[in-house]
Amino acid sequence: MTPSLEVEGLAFAYPDGHQALFGVDLRIEQGERVALLGPNGAGKTTLVLHLNGVHRAGAGTVRVGGLEVAKPHLQEIRRRVGVVFQDPDDQLFMPTVGDDVAFGPANFGVTEPELSLRVKQALGAVGMGEHADRSPMHLSGGQRRRVALATVLACDPEILVLDEPSSNLDPVARRELAEVLLGLDRTMLMVTHDLPYALQLCPRSVVIDEGVVVADGPTRDLLADPAFLAAHRLELPFGFSV
């Protein structure tokens, strides 16, 4: 079976010359849920932005369901891969929450009455159904994060990529988000610093540090190795053990 995501020898430098990725290899099978861990500045966000063609590989290749991420297939790639950005303020730009959630599916050709249904379901899934007519600019940080997630859920992508989805969420919202994600049954790659969250949601974890993959294996095994965690600035919360 073709893997959902296939990254080979991916290297990338930002226009200012700063090299962020030095040959990353990663293969994710269909339906797998994988956590992407690593310290600040490791290159996680940079990697994620290659998966839907926002960044173009300096060297190496990225394939989504066998299709190479390259100019002629970008629209199809973006239909398949939904990325929730690290900063919701980058993601939300329409005058109302409802319009923002409708933006993605409308671009992919979804029309009424299906469109309204998608908006309603996506906002309902993140518990923001009552806020459809408000301006995203007037929401709290956690509410904005939930709406940002809804904008991507509404696109119904095959592969869901989340860049730190649980930051800024209150404990209940964090748990509810986990329930939503577990119920989705999609291929999922989740960047997070929240190790218990990774353990709860993702059977497998990939750790990157300084632009290379330094570990790839069952989340429970990785988290049970204190020396390895310390070497890559990873730490379980106080009182937590696996």
Partner: protein, 252 residues
């Protein structure tokens, strides 16, 4: 972070006028403006009739005259021009309070003044009864070129982005003890403007990337239910039709 207070034009309300679909109102307002502009400048009573139509709309929309007046101030420069014209235009002149005025100039001034005022009042009425987002969607629905509506939509968004960015940066300065009460302390604020530009630009870039990630290809998708009944059109266009009739009568 409360951006978005820039849209003070809109006057929140729930009247039959507010509830009409935006694209219908845009067409009606456009027709009324055409009718006003086409009215011969000597047909004084017709302008009164146009104004009466507008007053009727304001009463239906339940918007106070004071609010309309406040929003019509943008017209001031035109008024000045209209008042000055009779003094400077050439042609036959007339005496008024000992001043020598050009008849043509008087008529030209009146023409600009009355048509400008009515035009502004029509636009303000449209703006007060229709939120910005609906206006944008209405333009898109009327097949105004995608580029125009996209730029307009992004302008609304970027105004908010810049305002929000400015507010965050000011908070960050104030939270660290900056209290610009004296002129020599204004340095950080001035330097902040340069940073503000850069940050707004970079955020704009990231917003654009996030739009691409959701399948944006350069034109805004149409959102909302586009069904507008014939009755709605008839109701909305009635005042515009009346204005056209008056204008035609003005030529008789």
């Amino acid at each position: 972070m409360g951006a978005g207070h820039a849209h003070t034009l809109h006057h929140v309300g729930d009247s039959p006028v507010h509830r009409l679909p935006a694209h219908v109102k845009i067409v009606a307002a456009f027709l009324m403006v055409i009718a006003v502009v086409a009215t011969p400048r000597e047909a004084f009573w017709v302008f009164g009739a146009h104004l009466a139509l507008l007053v009727g709309i304001w009463v239906t929309a339940r918007i106070p005259v004071a609010a309309i007046a406040a929003r019509s101030l943008i017209e001031a420069p035109f008024v000045a021009l209209a008042v000055l014209l009779p003094f400077f235009a050439t042609g036959p002149r007339t005496e008024f309070l000992g001043l020598s005025l050009s008849v043509d100039g008087l008529l030209a001034g009146w023409n600009i003044l009355v048509k400008g005022t009515l035009g502004v009042l029509i636009s303000v009425t449209l703006g007060m009864t229709t939120p910005v987002r609906d206006l944008l969607a209405g333009l898109a629905r009327l097949r105004v070129p995608g580029m125009v509506t996209t730029i307009a939509t992004l302008m609304v968004r970027y105004l908010e982005v810049i305002a929000a960015e400015a507010r965050r940066m000011r908070l960050a300065r104030v939270a660290r003890g900056h209290d610009p009460r004296f002129l020599w302390q204004i340095g950080p604020t001035v330097r902040g403007v340069g940073t503000l530009f850069l940050r707004s630009y970079e955020r704009g870039e990231r917003v654009h990337l996030a739009m691409l990630a959701r399948g944006y290809t350069g034109s805004m998708p149409l959102l909302g239910v586009p069904t507008t009944g014939r009755r709605t059109w008839a109701v909305a266009l009635a005042p515009a039709a009346a204005a056209v009739l008056f204008a035609t009568a003005g030529y008789a």
